[in-house]
Amino acid sequence: MAELPQPISDDDSNLPTDPFEAELVAYLDGELDDAAARRVEARLATDPAAQRKATALKKTFDLLDFLPKREPSPTFATRTLDRLPAMVQSPSAQSHGSQIGSGSSNVVSGTLAATDAMALNPPIRSGHWLAKVLLAALLFAIGGYAASALVGPQLLTAPNRDSTADELSISDHRVVENLHLYAAVDNLEFVRALDTPEFFAVHADLPSDPQLRPPPEPRTPFGPTFNKQAEAFKSLPAARQQAIRELDRQLFAEEPGTRDRLFQVLEGYAVWLDRLNETNRKLVLAADSPRRRLDEVRSVRNEQWVDSLPPAWREELRKLPAAERQERILRWRKDEARLHEEWAVFRSHAPDIAANRAPWPFESENARQSVIEFMRAIYRTDDEKKCRFSDADRLRYTSNLAQANEWNGWAWYAYGKTAFDLNRKYELLPESADGKLVTSYAQLGKAEKMFEKGRGRTATLPHVGKWPEFALAVHNYIATDKSDKVPLAKLGPARPEEFKEPLRSFVVKELLPALSPTDRLSLEAALGKWPDYSRQVVSLARRYDLVAPGLMLPGSPKRWESLYVFGPRIKP
């Protein structure tokens, strides 16, 4: 056997054991043979003190049920499997890994890869941009205030591992190289939140000045910089190290385009932090949760944004009462974001717009019709009464379609964007193979009585007769309801065999065979759970660029996203 029990210390074996108590405990645990059990029972029948002791022993043991049962975090299985590199690695992660291994600094190579993809590849001039970023970020990570806020206190903590376990493994090299970017980041969700126009999203309409791009830098994985970052990393608590590893792994599991964009966001954030004054930086770094940190970043950026306004506008804001002031700032920022978006679309598609060419997938009549037909069949866009859209959304949809049909060419972009947005806004969930749609209270079984009055009724009544809105409202209400759970009838299909064709075949024959073992595991974990399973199917189909029939717009999901999410960044 690989693992043998270790020799034990006899730290407690010298203490005397009360023989009756030992018998009593064993009796309570059902570990005594019949004769011994009878002896204990006889004593209990006549000895009140023994009875009390038995009760106390049993009750204290029962008390342990009050200890919370810790569930593994959602990424536990993935992280565990990822520590077996030979076994489970998504193909994309592997390819990024090799790219990283042979290139220069991964931020640099990543940015260059993105540049290549955009076919904007003039010769890169040497400059000091990256040097400055790195210097700033390094100061941030291993010196100055940030060192004491992030690394410092943890350096003071005695390592909780053997020193041998602290040796840097090769798999950590990439993590260490990027530590200056990861050091003030909580997790991938935090990075994604930063990747919004409100924070550090890279605007597609920014001029692509090659001088602003970082020059290639020789990779020095064992130079003094690397060593300093390695030391800093090793000094972090194991949990924080693991969180940073996980962040790195998730970033490199992203599509190259997304990954490069997120790295640009991280760079922007690191530089911004570095340039903040002491007080504001402290506010951001000392936040005790990702959400609070984002709030601090938002608040500081709002101040900075206001400071950048023309004096007359600042004056206008200054005169407003606080609440109104906040509202005005929000409105102005929203307007600004919309203009950015429109401008981004225009810049990215200037030649197509000038030539009035239809964007993908509307270049061919067939593809055009398949999108229109999808929207009609699924959302009943041709039927005012049965259409799932709000009146305003239906109006937007029909007018965009009419305009596209009339004007043709680039006018299809507005239609495509509307179809895409509405497909995201009005969630599609597959119907059950037996054709039954839960759209009324009578179909809820015993749970029906939960919706007879009160908040449950209010939350669900507007959705009666609508699939999947009604079932979702019921599901959402029950998930937040604090009263005792009542058995609920099944709300929708949550297994491949419960889906209608062709979705069933899609899941079994296309999606499942394409999934990595870890993704398959996460899908299996959702089996039988509605609507989680269906949502997982759609989310994985998107990730693997597959089209789940009846749930997703026809055509490559990635192409849809690259063209119609927040204005296109990269031309397809």
């Binding site: 004593r43 204290t60 009050f66 200890l67 975090s73 520590r83 005695a158 194991a238 949990a239 000392a286």
Partner: protein, 221 residues
Amino acid sequence: MAIGHTSAQMALRDPDIRLMLRVRDDDDTAFVELVSRFQHRLVAVMHHLVGNADEAEDLAQEVFLRVYRNRKKYTPQAKFSTWLFTIANNLALNALRDRKRRPVLPLEVHESGPLGPRPNEAIAASRDAPPMHNLQQQELAKVIRQALDELNERQRVAIVLNKFEDMNYADIAEVMGLTPKAVKSLLSRARGKLREALQGYIYMDDEPPAPDADDETDENP
């Protein structure tokens, strides 16, 4: 012919052993399934032992990695879970002894501090219960946790396996490398200590506490 305990026969009976044999034979999907099947039990047990969520996950992860690394040496003997928890026991005891040798600032200090891991999880676990009830339960859980922490490492392992893995004395003995008799005595001391530490909390709902006067009379048979 009497049925011998050959590995094939045992494997046929125990689905966990069947799964581990597939892992041994380099069936990677089997390992994925194994992690999926045992992660909840392992993390829960480790958490009860070390009292810290991140350390519990680290240890549970290490258990799985050791299972994987040692898969070729696996020979089905007793229950698979006994083998798994033998590895877990060794790692947990090492971690607990390590902690004793080199006291560190408790990791919990960082859990809600800057960039600390998942500060909301503890609250999320019990969000369905009414607030007062929650508070009472949280306080109680804290007291029980302290009582558990006061046990020595081996007592704690025995109690946790007995309570949360529902293991009998023979299995605990195998996991911990002891005789069943030693386990009986270990558990008796542990339960006695828990009874002393928690006696103020056990008559909360029903009868008042019994007078202490004759509680400690000689109970020897």
